[in-house]
Amino acid sequence: MLRFIAKRLASAVLVMFTISVLVFLIFFATPGVNPASRIAGRSASPAVLRQVAKEFGLNRPLPIRYALMMFHLFIKQDLTSYVNIGDKIIPQITAAAPITLSLIFGAVVIWLFVGISGGVIAAKNKGKFIDPLVMFFGIAAISIPVYWLGQMVLLVTQGGLHRSIFAWIPNGGYVSLTQSPWQWALHLLFPWLTLASLYAGIYARVLRGELINNMNEDYIRTARAKGLSERRILYRHALRCSLISIVSLFGLDVGVLVGGAALLTEVVFGLQGVGWLTYQGLQNLDLPLIMGCVMYGAFFVVLASAVVDVLYAYIDPRIRVVA
């Protein structure tokens, strides 16, 4: 097992390196962009531009430039935003991270609960009315774009009904957990539901399919022949085996979200998380900011993928042999 983990981490590091190289090349491959001015900041003086050119080795060979860029990004951490001159990137990202994490945390709890329950209910009642009903809601949730759903939710809760039914919904924005847990949850409630909807739909559908497949397997027939209750067979045998595929899905979903994929939800609800930050950077072509956000995101995706692989080997004993 240890060898497997070591190998997995090694390949993760390799992937990170490759991504960093590609991201770095943005600076030099984006047309109409002067790398020096992008780094230095908008309307920087020629003296500053020369200083930047020297510090970042813009006249030196590519590998040196890469090394210096990485140095500034990670070690010295003094890369500054193009737009907001002087604002360092790294602190911005670290400030935004907790907001993203808060958003994801709640959404995960909701979507796991709804998705798994939905999948189980649909599979248990296969063929009866409730099965296609659940699946319909599932596909509706998947199909509705999150930014549209978010806007609709805002329209309803902040618009006409804000004074009556939805008076208890705050006006938007974010309250940190340490400040007031109750307000924190209240502010995040609808963003949670919006973000969770897509994933709940996917998980319900995937789980239903897996469960139905697994219920037809030979070992389920053996379990019945043992005289176990249907309930036990469903939860302890079929579900346990079906969750294996959910785990890998889940790990990647969370990894991607932590890295900033909840961008649309954050923007719509005005939550200044990492996704929101990335969005700002993209709009302004703020290259340093984009670089920072991409590296941050890539790190979590790679980490999540490695964790999932290891978890997979833990959950499914058959994988361990091959590993």
Partner: protein, 341 residues
């Protein structure tokens, strides 16, 4: 044991079992009027080819047919008690607790994510009031009983860490864990090599003697029947063709299908010349004739075969065929039956 005897001694007594499925193409009669008894400590073999209904019959007895379109009729007495109409919850205590069942493919019979010990313990505790510790001890004993080396360490191994033959032993151990009066084995050795098959059949014989249980073994292999069964039921198209003591059926088979089956098997102990072939193809379950199911393929068919023959015979050897004993004698003496010409 003739079917007319009052079956108070029989562990399992099946009367007129019929199983049909309503499909879009029509009604599929998978089992049609099957009756037999299984005595105490007896091994009954049910032999037939695919589509004969042999497996469906036993699955439906135990309530393992989960198709919503199935309809089952008849009577099944287990130790004198009618089990055919029982609710699923009531059947759950019969399954595993009083009737054990093992299946064909040992590679997929066990849940891959739990250790074999856990799975045996699960069954033990479902039917007995035992502590986990006691159950694990019993599971280890059972593994030893079925011949698995190092049972103390193997009990916490996963199914994929066992070979096919070993897995089948685990399955047998599990099925016998609650000391059932009856063990049903559906093609238990078909997926195994000859040498492993010999080990497993040997094991089943020994365990049966030790536990005093009866066995119903389903197979397509007449050799396996000869090896282990006391009595045989030959099935064709969901109907019983012939029932009787194993030796009688093998040496003086009465039904033309049985003749065909016996003559079609190439033997390892004697050189077979031309194999007997049954003309035509297996009957489609949607188009089983109202008369004798085998008549379309039978070279001895007569006009009366348009009417379904009753199960009749003597001394416990019954068949569903209109041929009279004299006619049979004539046919057998012409020696074309066994492909010897």
């Amino acid at each position: 044991m003739s079917l007319d005897d009052s079956s108070t001694n029989a562990v399992l007594s099946v009367r007129d079992l019929s199983v049909s499925f309503a499909t879009r193409q029509g009604v599929v009669q998978a089992v049609d009027g099957l009756s037999f008894d299984v005595g105490a400590k007896e091994v009954l073999g049910i032999v037939g080819e695919s589509g004969s209904g042999k497996s469906v019959a036993m699955y439906s007895i135990l309530g393992l047919v989960r198709d919503a379109n199935v309809s089952i009729s008849g009577s099944v007495l287990f130790e004198g008690r009618e089990i055919l109409g029982l609710s699923d919850t009531e059947m759950q205590s019969v399954r595993g607790g009083e009737v054990g069942m093992i299946f064909q493919d040992p590679m997929t019979a066990l849940t891959p994510v739990y250790t074999v010990g856990w799975q045996i313990v699960e069954q033990l505790r479902a039917h007995n009031d035992m502590t986990k510790k006691a159950a694990y001890e019993r599971a280890t004993e059972l593994l030893a009983e079925v011949g698995i080396p190092n049972p103390k360490s193997r009990v916490s191994h996963y199914p994929h860490e066992f070979s096919g033959g070993m897995r089948q032993r685990v399955v047998i151990a599990m099925a016998l864990s609650c000391n059932p009066k009856l063990l049903i084995a559906d093609e238990p050795t078909t997926a195994l090599d000859v040498t492993t098959q010999a080990q497993i059949l040997d094991l089943m014989g020994r365990l049966q003697a030790a536990h005093g249980s009866s066995i119903v073994i389903i197979t397509h292999d007449m050799g396996v029947i000869a090896e282990i069964a006391h009595r045989v039921v030959v099935m064709y198209a969901g109907r019983p063709a012939e029932i009787g003591p194993e030796l009688d059926v093998v040496r003086s088979a009465r039904h033309p299908y049985t003749w065909g089956l016996l003559g079609a098997v190439p033997r390892a102990d004697v050189k077979t010349r031309r194999l007997v072939t049954i003309p035509g193809n297996a009957v489609s379950p949607l188009e089983v004739p109202t008369g004798c199911a085998f008549a379309p393929r039978c070279q001895y068919r007569m006009e009366i075969c348009a009417e379904r023959p009753p199960m009749r015979g003597a001394h416990g050897h019954l068949d569903a065929c209109w041929l009279s004993d004299e006619q049979r004698l004539e046919i057998r003496s012409s020696a074309t039956v066994r492909g010897e010409s």
